[in-house]
């Protein structure tokens, strides 16, 4: 797995640069207090990924603790329903703690421990990253505090309880709208204060350099496994690979190995699904790439939902994991370069996709992942019935039971 972390200069796709820029996007836009810590982190990360022992321990924990590799499952009844030749589901929902988030928290907590930090903090929206961080902190004996908006605490009571059971402190954030963006700000502020002994485990491919790259690298196990599993099954090349995009960690983890290892003429269509919420024509959505404009938020430059004066706007989605006003900088670069296509999916489309997968395959996906599944009918119409599509199912839907019940599914 070393090659995932050490891209060579000959590779056609090689990002970011030494300053953490993906084209114009990314970078480090933070108060001076944390600049030295970020520099230290970047150096420590480079050292860690050059150390075979670090990579071995990461691989070992992903295998024996997280339960990887996750299956690439051929969902025949779902394919039939969409009149596609085949649909393969990358089952990140089968990871320990039920989502892809733990791939990254294992990586970052190993790094925290290696750097001698005794305490980790994290932000969380739906609670999946918070639970994954609390789980990993328990595994590694690290003190853990998770910042969570008061509105999200209300919406995700079960995950709050889980984090506390795991020994983490859940810090309520009542600023702003009490959701993910406010939790990120609160965690960053706290980090500014406790930077000496504390490691900030960012949950998505966002934030100042080196976070977007680190998160991508730790998550790229998803795409690397897909490529290996397609080879193992001796399948013809697939036509499209799809993932949902909030901050964009499962999507970049899925896409990056295809961008890096598959020549452009053999590369499947890569499609990201953003949250269109109540519709792109309303102001209730989370589609930074489709409807935003470039700006700085949370320490990096990327597409952003913002007002005329440059204030970040509140994002909305039925899924707490996709209601973030920004998006990882590498996605902004991939959009501008035309290397990945980004579409948006409404709450209703996501709910329909959720119901269909549940009924045809007996798999209950997260509402976030349902946004990716909702692209299948469009891809079927575009690519025809001979097409094969891979969808990353980033997490399981247990956490969303209240939301889908409120929406009237299963009545």
């Amino acid at each position: 797995m070393t090659e995932v972390f050490l891209p060579s200069a000959e590779m056609a796709y090689s990002t970011p640069d030494a300053q953490g820029f993906y084209g114009p996007y990314g970078g480090t836009f933070v108060p001076e207090t944390v600049v030295p810590a970020l520099g230290e982190l970047a150096v420590a990360y480079e050292e860690a990924i050059a150390d075979a022992a670090f990579l071995e321990e990461f691989a070992y924990l992903l295998h024996d603790y997280v339960g990887r590799p996750t299956p690439l499952y051929r969902a025949d009844r779902l394919a039939d329903a969409h009149r596609l030749r085949a649909v393969y589901l990358k089952r990140e929902d089968l990871n320990h703690t039920g989502a892809h988030k733990i791939n990254n928290t294992i990586g970052q907590c190993l790094l925290a421990r290696r750097m001698g930090k005794t305490r980790v903090i994290a932000e969380t929206g739906a609670g999946q990253h918070g639970v994954a961080t609390a789980t990993t902190a328990a595994l590694m004996g690290l003190e853990c505090a998770v910042f969570m908006g008061t509105e999200d605490i209300r919406r995700q009571a079960l995950n709050v309880y889980k984090m506390r059971l795991l020994g983490a402190e859940v810090v309520p954030v009542s600023d702003g709208t009490g959701t993910l963006a406010d939790a990120v700000t609160a965690a960053l502020r706290h980090w500014v204060e406790r930077v000496e002994d504390t490691f900030y485990v960012i949950g998505s491919a966002v934030g100042p350099h080196p976070y977007p790259r680190m998160v991508r690298d730790f998550q790229s196990i998803i795409g690397s496994e897909i490529i290996a599993q397609l080879e193992e099954k001796a399948l013809p090349p697939v036509d499209a690979v799809v993932a949902c995009v909030g901050g964009g960690s499962n999507a970049i983890g899925t896409f990056y190995p295809f961008l890096r290892d598959v020549p452009v003429e053999e590369r499947p269509l890569l499609v990201g699904a953003e949250a269109a919420g109540l519709g792109l024509e309303t102001d209730k959505h989370g589609a930074a790439l489709s409807k935003g404009s470039p700006g700085v938020l949370h320490g990096f430059y990327s597409y952003l939902l913002q007002d005329e004066a440059g204030n970040p706007l509140e994002a909305y989605s039925i899924s707490a994991g996709l209601d973030y006003p920004g998006v990882g900088p590498e996605h902004s670069y991939l959009k501008d370069e035309g290397l990945v296509r980004y579409e948006s999916v409404t709450d209703i489309e996501a709910l329909e996709a959720f119901a269909l997968l549940t009924r045809t395959e007996g798999i209950i996906p997260a509402i976030e992942s349902s946004h990716a599944l909702a692209l299948l009918p469009r891809l079927a119409a575009e690519l025809g019935e001979d097409a094969t599509v891979v969808v990353t199912v980033s997490g399981r839907g247990d956490k969303d039971m209240d939301i889908v019940r409120e929406a009237g599914l299963g009545e």
Partner: protein, 260 residues
């Protein structure tokens, strides 16, 4: 090269008082009155904060003031803040107006366009700008278009020698020394090692060093004045900003303490 207006404000043979006020808080006219009150009270430099929706470096007092300012009818952002600045520099109400430094986060500058923002700041009579989320390495594009404005960078207690060298080389007007890790706001005691940090900065630059974050009382201001060229007081002034009379009286008290 002649000394900048900003640097000159610290060279009066005694420590300088820098006070921060939030533009548009609680409304446009009140903030303009508060600026004049701070000038009458004896502020040597005034920092004018631009209300922003994600004030990463600010504590609860300044964050709340920004929120109130932004939520007034019609909104309140960089353009409006510069209108307040212009009204103040045109008619400061004192004979010798203290130079004005605009304190804004980076995204409002980007949204307006860096060149356009710089032009408007010059027109408004601002002497300089502080952008807390723009470290020197991220400031090249701004530096290219901001001629005539001093760009002040910050040194933090966590800054390494290497960082202090980078920041002091890039900074213009003065060096903003952050006294403590964390966000803006009053603290009960001043950080240990502050004098040492100021000394380390002085080894790299002849520019004045002003200390901010956590200075809230005349006593603390006097302590800081004993070791630095300037004392920056923010949250404690903003807390009184609804009443210009209170601002003037408090700034007078601070100025007396700094100059004692």
């Amino acid at each position: 090269m002649s000394e900048s207006r900003l640097t000159a404000a610290f060279r009066k043979g005694r420590p300088a008082l820098v006070t921060y006020l939030m533009a548009g808080y609680p409304d446009r006219d009140s903030s303009l009155e508060a600026l004049r009150a701070a000038a009458r009270g004896g502020a040597d430099v005034i920092e004018l904060g631009v209300p922003y929706g994600d004030p990463l470096a600010d504590g609860p007092v300044i964050a709340e003031a920004a929120k109130v300012a932004r939520e007034q009818e019609g909104g309140f952002g960089l353009i409006h803040a510069l209108q307040v600045a212009e009204a103040f520099t045109a008619d400061p109400g004192v004979e010798e107006a203290p130079p004005l430094v605009v304190m804004t986060y980076l995204n409002p500058l980007m949204r307006l366009g860096l060149a356009e923002a710089a032009a408007r700041m010059r027109e408004a009579g601002a002497a300089g700008v502080i952008v807390p989320d723009m470290p020197p390495e991220a400031g090249a594009a701004w530096k290219r278009v901001s001629e005539g404005l001093d760009t002040v960078f910050l040194v933090a207690p966590t800054s390494t020698e290497e960082r202090i060298a980078v920041v002091t080389a890039a900074s213009q007007g003065f060096i903003y020394c952050v006294s403590a890790t964390g966000v803006t706001g009053e603290r009960e005691t001043l950080a240990l090692g502050l004098a040492d940090l100021v000394g380390r900065i002085r080894a790299y630059t002849p520019l004045p060093v002003a200390v901010g974050f956590g200075v809230g009382t005349p006593e603390q201001a006097a302590q800081v004045a004993a070791i630095a060229d300037g004392v920056i007081v923010g949250s404690a002034v903003v807390k009184r900003q609804r009443d210009a009379g209170e601002v003037e009286a408090f700034v007078r008290e601070l100025a007396a303490a700094v100059r004692a």
